[in-house]
Symmetry: C2
């Protein structure tokens, strides 16, 4: 089936482009990436160089350049140029037929095929595929096979290209390419922290042997030049194995990478691929969402799930980058997106990954404590942009005023305080979904208490009003900085304080002395608990207006100029201007960047009545610019909840195609390149379907499903893991089927409408909607 943007799918498992579009080099490089949470390799063509955004981003390689501490793009071990009768195969020269480039999502493989006619009548057919192994995360494997149509002089230039694309400054202080036996090695050492990165490459040739071999070593590139005299229709297959290791993940990265590369070459590509595919089978068994009735929705959904999966480190406790491992944008670091958008899919399908993510937040508590202290607060104020250590990576000056060239001081890092309570919200959701009290005691409680301490120090009491306030904040709508009593932030703060109190109460009741030990370690006293209580009780919580039912986004919002995004867009003097502070076009208007009050509804189903949610949806939705890729999924989810299935589906279309159709996002804003995979939007796709269309609600009692599927969807099937019990869910227009896996150790209460079933292992139920 043909899709927009030259894309197609046939099975709903593969997504590919049928024609090469040179204008989309940056976008397709992201979309067709492979990865495994340890590394990401962009879907670029192997003959390309840095100017076409080739990149292999490796987790845990944070290093600072030009003020940005970000992940490194390591030397490109797949680099391969094919010269046929002296002319390089390319998509830019000669003629290309039978072109395809895409992904097999089921097994996490990139593929490319192309029949190329050179300008001198050469003709060659290329088929190549590659994978970032889930069996050995350090490994990238590629099969590169070509057939010449007539006798040809062919040169393969293949090796490691260290001339890498850097979004900001140069990250390596030394580059050391070398050869050892058949292997090529490339060692780079980072400039700031001296992290050693080793890329080792080897290859196997089949179908022909080179007449000559030449090693070409430059300062930043090392390649073999292999020359062949090929006959008509002769096929040559090259298998490359590239292993990557760094001093941050193994003790002897060079030796480690060498061993991995040799082992992979010994096994051969097919064996590597088989092992890798098995891992993907296991992942999809619980992560897939089947959609019957719309193949396009099926493939865009799977694409999104795939991207969320490969963006997420599971080998270590590391952040999920806002652009995953697709490029250096946003520094390979976590934002609130991680808990609020990426995590729910894992929480309800592979909860150990959700736990891993939350433990990462526990690991980084010291960074959050330092940030709080530096800014004059107590407890833990999580980084807006969090790398390995949790130190604040967000630069004070991120955007540029494109009209004046002056840097803009954005206050994401110091005023967007909801990040801390957002993490507590996620901890609580994790506990409710898993019942993992052990995690709460060992990790969650410390986060919750330290966040509570931060919130105490960040709250201000107004004597005359007898209430606590949160002053000078930035809510999710990033176009309105420096506002007071942002409804989302105040309610989140309240929720986090309540949960800190609840956790404390629960720990008090459970014996073991952990509470006392933790309080001792954190230096907490009853006075602190009294403060949590006092603020939880007396913090100002914006409520719906009794007449209009509207909740004001922040104090004074309704007094702002009431215009729509299109009108505001007309006021731009430059299309790349940032719309927000200090003087952007949206600042003095009611135009929102993204869901803010609605975000509160998305996080807390049931906090407000449906008519309140509906009134606010109707008010805020037309005023929202959706300048963030986070926005459509929240709108879809809330539209489902308030009974607007048409709008829910429209936003689903928007939110599930952000990267594939390059829609709804700004690649440039305020002079900053913001491309790459929008991993949070990908996580949002799971939420739109399962929590939106499926109406999933999880609480201490069990789950509730309230499906309202898009009309033409015949069936949606997915899995859930609730308190360690696996459930297979099938939704149709009029019924819900639930099967509890045979091996389930407990039972799960499932409600649909008025009907409630308690399902133990092997049980199944069909319930009418």
């Amino acid at each position: 089936m043909n899709l927009k943007n030259n894309l197609y799918t046939d099975t709903g498992w593969e997504i590919a482009e049928a024609a090469f579009n040179p204008d989309q080099v940056a976008t397709t490089g992201s979309n067709f990436m492979i990865g495994n949470g340890y590394l990401g390799y962009r879907g670029t063509l192997v003959e390309w160089e840095a100017d076409r955004y080739t990149a292999c981003i490796v987790s845990d390689t944070y290093d600072k350049a030009d003020g940005f501490r970000e992940l490194c793009n390591v030397p490109n071990g797949l680099f391969t140029q094919l010269f046929v009768d002296g002319e390089m195969l390319s998509v830019f020269t000669g003629e290309t037929h039978d072109y395809a480039r895409g992904l097999d999502l089921r097994s996490g493989r990139f593929f490319r095929s192309q029949t190329w006619e050179g300008t001198r009548g050469q003709r060659v057919h290329l088929e190549t595929e590659r994978l970032a192994s889930y069996d050995n995360l350090h490994l990238i494997a590629m099969r590169y096979r070509f057939r010449v149509a007539q006798p040809s002089q062919v040169v393969i230039s293949t090796g490691i290209d260290g001339k890498v694309w850097n979004l900001n400054g140069e990250h390596f202080r030394t580059y050391a390419p070398s050869a050892e036996g058949d292997l090529l090695l490339f060692q780079a050492v980072t400039g700031e922290l001296g992290t050693q990165i080793d890329v080792v490459e080897g290859l196997t040739l089949m179908g022909a042997q080179p007449q000559t071999r030449e090693l070409v070593r430059g300062q930043r590139r090392i390649v073999r030049r292999l020359a062949f005299a090929l006959e008509r229709d002769q096929t040559v297959t090259m298998e490359k194995a590239v292993a990557i290791a760094t001093s941050n993940d193994v003790s002897a990265p060079r030796e480690h990478a060498q061993a991995d590369a040799r082992a992979a070459l010994r096994d051969g590509y097919d064996a590597t691929r088989t092992r890798h595919s098995k891992e993907w089978e296991r992942i999809w068994a619980v992560s897939d969402i089947q959609i019957e009735g719309d193949l396009e929705d099926q493939i865009t959904t799977r694409f999104s799930l795939y991207q969320n999966i490969i963006a997420t480190p599971t080998h270590a406790r590391l952040p999920i980058g806002a652009r995953g491992l697709s490029c250096q944008v946003y520094q390979g670091a976590a934002f609130w997106d991680q808990e609020i958008f990426n995590l729910p899919m894992f929480l309800y399908t592979r909860p150990w990954i959700a736990k891993n993510i939350l433990r990462y937040r526990h690991d980084t508590l010291d960074g959050a404590r330092e940030k709080a202290e530096r800014l004059g607060f107590g407890g833990a104020f999580y980084a807006w942009t969090s790398g390995k250590t949790g130190e604040e990576l967000f630069p004070d000056f991120f955007f540029t005023d494109v009209l004046t060239g002056r840097r803009i001081r954005n206050h994401f890092n110091d005023w967007q305080i909801h990040i801390s309570p957002d993490i507590v919200t996620s901890i609580w959701q994790y506990y409710v979904a898993t019942g993992d009290w052990d995690f709460v005691v060992k990790h969650g409680a410390e986060i919750a208490f330290e966040v509570a301490q931060f919130l105490v120090s960040r709250s201000h009491y107004r004597v005359d009003k007898g209430r606590y306030e949160l002053i000078r904040v930035l809510g999710p709508d990033e176009y309105h900085e420096n506002v007071d009593n942002n409804a989302f932030t105040n309610h989140q703060t309240h929720f986090a304080l309540e949960k800190a109190l609840t956790i404390r109460e629960m720990m008090k009741e459970s014996a073991g002395g952990e509470l006392e030990a933790l309080f001792d370690r954190l230096g907490l006293t009853e006075t602190d608990v009294e403060n949590w209580k006092d603020i939880a009780e007396r913090i100002y919580l914006p409520q719906p207006d009794p007449e209009t039912l509207l909740i004001e986004q922040f104090e004074g919002y309704f007094q702002l100029e009431d215009v729509r995004p299109d009108e505001v867009r007309q006021r731009l003097l430059d299309p790349e201007e940032y719309w927000g502070w200090p003087n952007g076009v949206a600042v003095r208007t009611q135009v929102l960047k993204q869901a803010d009050v609605l975000q509160l509804f998305a996080l807390h189903d049931g906090l407000f009545a449906k008519d309140v949610m509906r009134a606010n949806y109707d008010y805020y939705e037309p005023r929202t610019e959706h300048g963030s890729s986070l926005s459509p999924s929240v709108h879809s989810l809330v539209a489902s909840r308030v009974g607007c299935p048409g709008r829910a589906y429209e936003y689903f279309k928007k939110g599930s195609t952000i990267d594939l159709y390059d829609a709804s996002t700004k690649v440039m804003s305020g002079g900053t390149f913001l491309g790459g995979i929008h991993t949070a939007a990908c996580g949002g796709v799971w939420q739109m379907i399962v929590q939106g269309f499926g109406g999933l609600h999880v609480d201490e009692a069990g789950i509730r499903l309230a499906p309202s599927l898009p009309d033409h969807w015949e069936r949606v099937a997915f899995h859930l893991v609730i308190r360690n019990n696996l459930l297979a869910i099938e939704l149709r227009g009029d019924e819900v089927r639930v099967r509890a896996a045979q091996e389930n150790g407990g039972s799960v209460r499932v409600a649909v409408g008025e009907e409630v079933r308690v399902l133990s292992g092997g049980d199944s139920a069909t319930m009418a909607v």
Copy 2:
């Protein structure tokens, strides 16, 4: 004696320019203005029109145009053009000799003389003078006398020019020029509020009678054309009387102005001038500062005193404009300048004027209450820009980003909260200097209590720190907006709360039930008083660092880039850029616009030890840009206090010549015209001399003088009125002479060093320094 800028003085009482400089049309128009607190008439030439900034600004004519509610420039009743043989006498054409334009400060008169040779050999000598009567505030009188050197055909075109200069929009909805008998009348009605303004003009001719008289009436101008055939050396004298009245100050303005004009014409110019001069004699008797040893300092000082006097309405309770009545800049409205800069001179010489000013603040309490309520606070939050009613006149958007053309939201009006406690500080100073308890009970207490209520609502308590804070403020240094715990603002808040508590205590002790009545009327309870106490006790008061003795201007100030103003100036992309928020060159640096911590020292002598003041002076002074005309006088005053007489004198020179030498000020900033007389700087001159060089300190016990005169000043003499007792003070390098006026009813304690004298009426003392 010749001064800079083509200026000269001979007696120290007159200041004039010896040559006309067309580049200084705007500045000299302000400098040579006449006025009487009711109206101001610029020192422009009578033949000029709106394009040369002619203006007659009348108090109490606030009306809104283009978003600015400001005083009106009324039709120009002095308008007179002299044609000699068909060519108009001018400073721009022909040749000018014996030119002078200036002021006789002693009698508040403008004078101009010029011998003009036209391009056709005509030759005429003009002598003219004018005054804005202090005997009848509605009256402007002019004598216009010329002599032709040879027989000439002369036409005088004189009348009322209604084509006025408007800084912002058009203020009049109707213009009605007319003639009634010999008088010309011009009625204008303002567009917003319908205020009726009547300008009535009449003249008397001597020395010749016109051959023809013609009345020329345009839509916005009415003039008589008087044609003369003059003989060689014939002198013609025209006396004009212009009377102005508005429906805001009299019930029948037209009739009132007609009567005034007729009376003045009947009396003749000389009589008008005599009566006017007598008033000035009375004013100078107590207001003058005599400086022996430097004629330049003498004249610049008198010029400053003169400008402060004529800017100040005494006929009604109206604000002192930041540019007085010199133009429409700053809307003819009061800022904190009024209490902190203009008022002290009056407080210690003509305290009834200080009282008038403070009663104006009482009159405008409702405006301050409304502002507080509108912004979500209690009590009284005084307008940053206060016209007649006290409503906030400062527009949200004042400056323009000259680089982008976008308007800048400046937060003078909502974040510069110190205005309210500043007024309370002034009330307390008034009480200490006058002992006028009756004023405190009737007016001061209500202000102090309402300001306390505002400060309670504007304070935020930090539970974790156990202290109150002032968040998101703008201190006197207007380049750093949105700061927390600005030392000046916090200390001022503390002072104001303490004084509210003191006044309450004192009222409690004095019988009469006024306290209870006032509390009832204001709805105040003991809980409110407890809040004042609690905040006064626990507000965070930035203190000197024990090592460096430095007081941080606001939280985080010392972390800002430490550069000097010259370096920052280099970063301007346009010389007219505003240096402050949102993205100005000073915002992220330690560069101050004007005294901020030092301002605290200026207001509260003795709050910090001399070494603390000195350390802070040394730190902040080189970082101060003096982008405000308020800055030099504070620096001079503090330099005197910390023992830096050289610097004190340098800043005196700067501060006393701001208008005359057009120094230290920006005429344009952020796209806004900011010219006109800097009345606060003029008031600052009195403070630099009396409180700085003279070391005057006034407290409940009496006065202290600690002179450190500039070395070459031989003698400084001025008067003080302390608790209704007049003192004549003479300072010399080594001694202080004080004479208590014969008529004094009480005694004043005078201290100089260790020596203390108590002087009753007729006493005098000479005390060694």
